[in-house]
């Protein structure tokens, strides 16, 4: 008689149940939550091994590691949810080094009272996103905090990947004359999330662009690896923040052309509603590449051949500039600076 095994475990009532403090206390309830929701959704041998860490073989070489916390609100939005973001976003930060993402970890901070159903939906979409990307979630952690000490669920993912031999993308590598390529339309993610925001609620078909970009990156490197100076995914702060970061890290300026920046009409319209500049709005499935002039066409053509880069566009060039200004020729024909947004991105009236 095996009483441990015989002991009946009431099934998680995923449809109606909620996370309570016992699910974070290190006892059987926690084990059941982790197995019944996370392991089921992420399903792989590493998690089944049940260790506090997971092991894998690596070849020698250059590895990258990254992490991001995901705190998006609302948790579900057109085109994705916090879970898909947590997978895509961390894969993308690995891919931006030109690296092949290998493994992810996921740490969950769950607010007491969070519905199992929502947690399962999030976990399932993380599992699906990770399988689709071929990057398994091999280790994780679960904590439960009291009501009103979190906001539903927060997810921190970390990831590792291997950089192809000889590749060395760095944030200070942009040189005057380099081409600036954006992989597609800007602002989709930020607008999709804001459209579901409590006080702002507006109706639109815009979906988040949330996507894993490592496939696109692999193609780009195959086509023009030697010419790619650096890549960035323009998330928080939008391409304005990304270009300014690169400018100050590489001690260069940019001159871009507003007309060339892909922008969906609905996103432009939503930005008009909210008084926002799409250049400041977040993306979750786009990249900015700085490419040596001689490789720009090849890289651009390769990107356009990939489904996630079909609208890729060469939007401008790196220029020498001690001030590290990002300048833009407006579609109107004038010039302006593209600056970081000061403070939080607030819907403004004026």
């Amino acid at each position: 008689m095996n009483m441990m095994i015989k002991a009946y475990r009431r099934k998680l009532d995923v449809a109606n149940g909620r996370v309570d403090l016992s699910h974070g206390a290190g006892g059987r309830a926690m084990g059941q939550l982790i197995e019944g929701i996370f392991h089921k959704a992420f399903d792989n041998d590493w998690l089944r091994a049940g260790n506090d860490q997971s092991a894998f073989s690596v070849p020698g070489g250059r590895m990258v590691m990254t992490t991001d916390a995901y705190v998006v609100s609302p948790l579900f939005f057109p085109g994705g949810n916090i879970g898909t973001l947590a997978v895509h976003g961390t894969i993308n930060d690995i891919a931006m080094a030109g690296a092949v993402p290998l493994y992810l970890s996921a740490s969950f901070i769950i607010e007491e009272g969070f519905p199992f159903a929502d947690l399962e939906r999030i976990a399932q979409s993380m599992g699906a996103a990770s399988r689709e990307a071929g990057v398994p979630i091999i280790t994780g952690d679960t904590k439960v905090v009291e009501r009103c000490k979190a906001d539903g669920v927060f997810i921190s993912t970390a990831g590792v990947g291997m950089v192809p031999d000889g590749l060395d993308l760095r944030s200070d590598a942009a040189r005057p004359g380099d081409a600036v390529i954006i992989s597609g339309s800007i602002g989709d993610h930020g607008v999709a999330v804001m459209s579901k925001h409590e006080n702002l609620e507006f109706d639109t078909d815009i979906a988040s662009d949330s996507a894993a970009l490592h496939g696109l990156v692999a193609d780009m490197i195959a086509a023009g690896g030697a010419h790619i100076r650096l890549m960035r995914d323009p998330t928080r702060g939008g391409i304005a923040a990304t270009l300014n970061e690169i400018a100050s890290q590489s001690r260069v300026g940019f001159r871009i052309d507003e007309d060339k920046i892909p922008l969906k009409p609905e996103v432009a319209a939503a930005c008009e509603f909210l008084g926002l500049d799409p250049l400041n709005v977040a993306n979750e499935g786009k990249l900015v590449a700085v490419v040596a002039p001689e490789g720009a066409n090849a890289v651009l053509a390769t990107m356009r051949a990939h489904p996630l880069g079909s609208e890729a566009a060469l939007v401008g060039h790196v220029v020498a500039d001690d001030n590290c200004f990002v300048q833009m020729t407006t579609s109107f024909g004038g010039g302006r600076i593209v600056d970081w947004l000061s403070g939080e991105q607030l819907p403004r009236i004026c």
Binding site: N199, L200, P265, A268, A269, E272, N323, F325, Q327, T329, T330, S331, F332, G333, G334, G335, R336, I337, D339, S342, G343, E344, L346, P347, R348, I349, C350
Partner: protein, 385 residues
């Protein structure tokens, strides 16, 4: 985007700019003040300056209600918001405006004040209805455009018998401010500064109409062209102003005929008149006390007037004495004339009213235009000798 994209056509703009250059007398310079921050924003955002001939120069006026709000009013709002029973609702624009000692609503929120950003007075009302145990105060700010929505919220609160809703009124009036500028000694004094005409407000004029500007045009002999906020609207208005100046006319013209009439929105005016009355005087940051430059709730609505209801006091608070905003708002100086510009004073750490909102003259120049500093070795358009 219908009624937007048509007015953003850069090719037409270049042609009109060429026409302006052709008409502008090379022997003289033209200084036009756009009163509205909306115009300032459009000019900077689209780089209109780059299209204009060197002798046509825009002066950025005080038309941003966020910029002209005195520090003391922000301090008062913060003090109110810190009271435990208060929920302060505010448009997002105000969150980062610095009060005294580096404070702001954003920081007060971080320090525990219950401050909610709203998109509309409708949201503030909803909050008051949903949270009857809270004292919900709407931090009302804005020109004639934003006042009618406040009036309607007050009307609805009264109709619903919402006893927990009140208004901290900071609504200000456009004509009073224009008059104040035209009457200021340095503007009046011949030779120091010259304003050759005004680009008149777009959306304010949808409410008040074009008639209120007739007085200035006549009294001060300045042309006024009411214009839309799209860049082609602005450039066409500039062309119309150049023509008036060349013709020696000083009329009120309406470029924004698609939305503005002579008499404006009389329904909105009536709603405002029902609930608000003139303040004898109100401080405009950068301009000082402006007589009859603002509104307050009529005495019969004292219960909805947060200033009265909560015995609010507006502490005296001074701007940095090195800040040149007052002169900038009157067109006497330019942002780069200020020693603090771009060093101590940036949009991240604004020291004066012109840096506070992206529609302020200094902020617009910093955010969109500061790359021009290098190019502009000789400041041909400089008005102050």
């Amino acid at each position: 985007m219908k009624y937007i994209d048509e007015y953003r056509d850069g090719r037409l703009a270049k042609d009109i700019a060429r026409q302006i250059a052709a008409l502008a007398d090379p022997g003289r310079s033209y200084h036009f003040m756009e009163f509205c921050g909306g115009h300032t924003h459009a000019i900077s955002r689209y780089g209109l300056e780059d299209l204009l001939p060197a002798n046509v120069r825009m002066i950025h006026g005080p038309g941003c209600p966020v910029c002209v709000l005195p520090i003391g009013r922000i301090d008062a709002a913060i003090a109110l918001a810190m009271r435990p029973e208060i929920t302060l609702c505010t448009y997002g624009d105000l969150m980062r405006v610095p009060g005294s000692n580096g404070s702001s609503l954003l920081k007060a929120k971080a320090a525990g004040a219950d401050i909610r950003m709203v998109y509309s007075t409708l949201d503030a009302l909803r909050i008051a209805e949903a949270e009857l145990e809270r004292e919900v105060v709407f931090f009302a700010i804005g020109f004639e455009t934003t006042t009618p929505p406040t009036a309607l919220a007050l009307k609805a609160a009264i109709a619903k018998g919402l006893g927990n809703f009140s208004i901290f009124c900071n609504h200000v009036l456009t004509p009073a401010a224009i008059q104040n500028i035209l009457e200021s000694p340095d503007v009046r004094k011949l030779g120091t500064i010259k304003i050759d005409g005004f680009v008149g407000p777009a959306h304010v004029s949808t409410v008040i109409g074009t008639e209120p500007y007739e007085f200035f045009a006549g009294e001060f002999q300045k042309p006024v062209v009411v214009a839309g906020f799209e860049p082609l609207d602005v450039i066409q208005a500039i062309l119309m102003l150049v023509r008036q100046v060349n013709d020696g006319r000083h009329e009120v013209e309406n470029q924004y005929i698609r939305a503005v009439t002579a008499l404006g929105n009389e329904k909105a005016q009536a709603e405002v008149a029902n609930f608000f009355e003139l303040r004898e005087s109100f401080e405009w940051r950068g301009l000082g006390e402006v007589p009859y430059g603002a509104l307050r709730l009529r005495p019969q609505y004292v219960a909805y007037d947060a200033e009265k209801r909560f015995s609010m006091v507006t502490p005296a608070a001074k701007d940095n004495p090195a800040c040149a905003c007052g002169a900038i708002l009157r067109g006497v100086r330019r942002p780069t004339d200020c020693k603090l510009f771009g060093t101590v004073c940036t949009p991240d750490t604004p020291m004066g009213s012109c840096m506070v909102s992206s529609e302020g003259a200094c902020a617009a120049h910093w955010t969109y235009g500061r790359f021009r500093e290098r190019a502009r070795q000789v400041d041909v358009g400089r008005a102050v000798a």
